[in-house]
């Protein structure tokens, strides 16, 4: 099995008529993902990659039976897209878009929660379940079906680790990018719990970075897990008060430091590696 994105997941693409939306719809289809349609307000009746386009998620869900959506709409309109998905009956929403105002996300995250749906992202690479499909932008070529779960705040750094695992013959159940923003849908702890409950996942890689306290919050839970978790923190040499690309990657007011994360993880007995190469070796030794 895999988490979140399974054989039962049927997907619509919000922002399917845009450049990013089109490109990645094709890549998702090429990977064998069950994508059934798309949504762009005002573009109902069009076709993208042979898929029907609808005005709203509600219509798309009713017509196609979709239960999940992946969002590629531009940042100024993303809040409305997330709310449209949650109102339309979508259960799993994956938001790839970056640069969304924080206050928009406060509202969107609260709305998704109220509707009982799940949000991954924003500003993330999305979800990939090798052998099943992908919702997002993870390169298909690096994926390999197997037993390691990967959860990360960063995109390319995840690719680095996933490709390394695959090259060692170690496959993945699901790779999840939770996103690099301060206000996110699901967090590390949520995903770790899903991996803990997934029977095919034998070990988990958690890739964190400076900023916030998501890694610290996860540490205590990891200490109670039955499955091994190997962790890595990026930005260990980043200076305070400088935002390192991701809106969420900033040490401010002495909070969110790499030291605090490393300490919390070490105190919880979680192996924390200094390089991505060491992460691969550690996972190899555990399987």
């Amino acid at each position: 099995m895999s988490i979140l994105l399974t054989e039962e997941t049927k997907i619509i693409v919000q922002g399917i008529t845009g450049r990013e939306g089109r490109y990645h719809t094709k890549a998702m289809l090429d990977y064998g993902t069950s994508v059934l349609g798309g949504v762009t307000p005002g573009k109902k009746g069009q076709n993208v990659e042979g898929l029907p386009v609808f005005d709203t998620c509600r219509e798309a869900v009713l017509e196609t039976g979709a239960n999940a959506s992946v969002i590629f709409v531009p940042a100024p309109f993303t809040k409305d897209a997330i709310i449209d998905a949650a109102d339309g009956g979508v259960r799993l929403i994956v938001c790839i878009t970056e640069g969304i105002p924080f206050q928009d996300m406060v509202e969107a995250v609260a709305h998704v929660k109220k509707k009982g749906a799940c949000l991954i992202g924003p500003n993330c690479a999305g979800i990939a379940s090798p052998g099943i499909g992908k919702m997002g932008i993870t390169p298909s070529a690096i994926l390999k079906k197997g037993s390691v779960g990967v959860v990360s705040r960063s995109g390319t750094l995840t690719y680095e680790v996933v490709e390394g695992l695959s090259n060692l013959g170690i496959g993945q159940t699901t790779c999840v990018g939770i996103g690099g923003d301060p206000i996110l849908g699901l967090t590390f702890r949520d995903l770790l719990e899903m991996f803990e409950n997934d029977e095919d996942t034998e070990a988990v890689v958690m890739i964190g970075e400076i900023g916030g306290s998501d890694e610290e919050n996860a540490a205590e839970y990891i200490s109670q897990m039955t499955k091994p978790v190997v962790s890595f923190i990026s930005g260990r040499t980043a200076p305070p008060d400088k935002q390192m690309g991701h809106a969420g990657a900033i040490i401010s007011g002495g909070k969110g430091t790499a030291d605090s994360k490393v300490k919390a993880l070490k105190d919880a007995g979680v192996p924390i590696m200094d390089t991505t190469g060491e992460v691969l070796q550690k996972i190899k030794s555990l399987l």
Binding site: Y23, A75, P76, G99, I100, P101, F102, Q103, D104, M105, V106, E107, V109, A110, A125, I137, T138, P139, A141, I142, S152, R153, S154, G155, T156, L157, T158, Y159, E160, E163, G180, P182, I183, L184, I207, E209, I210, G212, S213, D214, N217, S234, G235, R236, T237, A238, P239, K242, Q243, M244, G245, H246, A247, A249, G253, G254, D274, T275, T276, G277
Partner: protein
């Protein structure tokens, strides 16, 4: 985005919050004029993006023209924790009876905005939180952009304000909530919020942090941003839309994706080098973008070597390689460059670079970091 104290106070004033009389200036003669206009005693305050100005002697109370001139000259010439002072705010000195703290902040864990109040104002709120957590009241705004009456009641009873002061305080509180939401802030605080001996409320110091993601709908603030970037290279890079942060080392770094770039910096440091910058070329960068990024790196005279670390996903390694070749053609002599390409079109990328003797290639990130440090020593 950080804005200066006087800019924060301008936002306060627009929303009807009481702030001390005063003006900002960058010359000491005007400082005296402003002081005379508002009357002595007045306060001369350095406008820099760093806390702890009081302890650093970057704020001074002045009683007459002579001391005002002296203080303005001194503060305008100083450097607070590495930040040169370009302007000072001259303000009337408040007749302080008591100091409070009032702030709104985005809470990542709660995924909500919270209001924080304390009767222990005037000191760093983080110190108060650590040493006297019971003296801070925190109220989540419940995903709304206003404050509910029952929460206002909670605040009033927590602070034990006497009846005659309540109405004025509630105006300040509501005004700050408006400042916070109308400007897409992630932090807005008044510290101290002064109760004067004349029983007036006065926002004597203010701090506002704006969410950069929202600048597309905050045109006035966006214009401020361009003025606020102190580093020339950062300003130029940001004009081109490049995610760049200037650091103080000599190893230039280019990568794609924030996490990968940060890890590349970490690896270079582990290998004994010091990164000169953070530069993320972003997803799907074309040859032209790579060329612009290289120009940014070359414009930093401190850079003595460059490590380019690309993991191709949407980004194609051959595009990156073409950009590099193009820029190297225009340079007679180059600094040492280490290139690591992985993922999408990495084979093609490596083939493009192969004829160039000046570029050292690496298989992995760790290897690349070691090679650039070795090549520079």
């Amino acid at each position: 985005m950080k804005i200066h104290e006087y800019q924060a106070k301008n936002l306060f004033k627009k929303n009807g919050l009481p702030v001390p009389k005063g003006r900002v200036t960058s010359n000491s003669e005007e400082a005296i004029d402003i002081s005379k206009e508002i009357g002595f005693p007045s306060v001369v305050k350095a406008q820099v993006h760093v806390g702890g100005r009081g302890k650093a002697n970057a704020i001074e109370l002045v009683k007459d023209e002579e001391s005002c001139e002296k203080a303005s000259k001194r503060i305008l010439g100083m450097d607070v924790k590495g930040f040169p002072v370009h302007s000072v705010l001259i303000e009337e000195a408040a007749n302080i009876d008591k100091e409070y703290y009032l702030g709104l902040i985005l809470d990542r864990n709660l995924k909500d905005n919270i209001l924080m109040v304390s009767a222990m104002g005037g000191v760093d709120i983080e110190d108060v939180a650590e040493n006297h957590p019971e003296s801070i009241l925190k109220i989540p705004l419940n995903f709304s952009s206003s404050i509910e009456d029952k929460d206002i009641e909670k605040v009033l009873s927590f602070l034990k304000l006497k009846d005659s002061l309540k109405a004025g305080f509630v105006d300040v509180l509501k005004g700050l909530v408006d400042v916070y939401f109308q400007n897409d802030a992630q932090l807005a605080e008044i510290n101290p919020l002064v109760l004067t001996k004349e029983e007036n409320w006065l926002a004597c110091d203010g701090k506002v942090l704006i969410d950069d993601n929202a600048l597309f709908r905050q045109q006035e603030l966006k214009e401020l941003k361009e003025d606020l970037e102190s580093n020339e290279i950062e300003r130029e890079a940001h004009k081109k839309g490049i995610a760049y942060v200037k650091l103080d080392g000599d190893v230039g770094i280019i990568g794609n994706g924030a996490g990968l770039v940060m890890t590349t910096m970490d690896e270079v440091s582990r290998a004994g080098g010091k990164p000169a910058n953070f530069l993320d070329i972003g997803g799907g960068a074309k040859k032209e973008v790579m060329e612009q990024c290289l120009e940014v790196i070359y414009s930093d005279a401190q850079v003595k070597g460059l490590f380019i670390n690309i993991f191709g996903g949407i980004t194609r390694c051959d595009e990156v390689a073409r950009g590099l070749v193009e820029v190297l053609k225009t340079r007679e002599k180059s600094i040492p460059i280490v290139l690591r390409l992985a993922g999408t079109s990495s084979e093609e990328g490596r083939a493009i670079i192969e004829p160039l003797d000046s570029v050292i290639t690496a298989e992995t990130m760790s290897e690349g970091a070691k090679k650039i440090v070795a090549a520079m020593s």
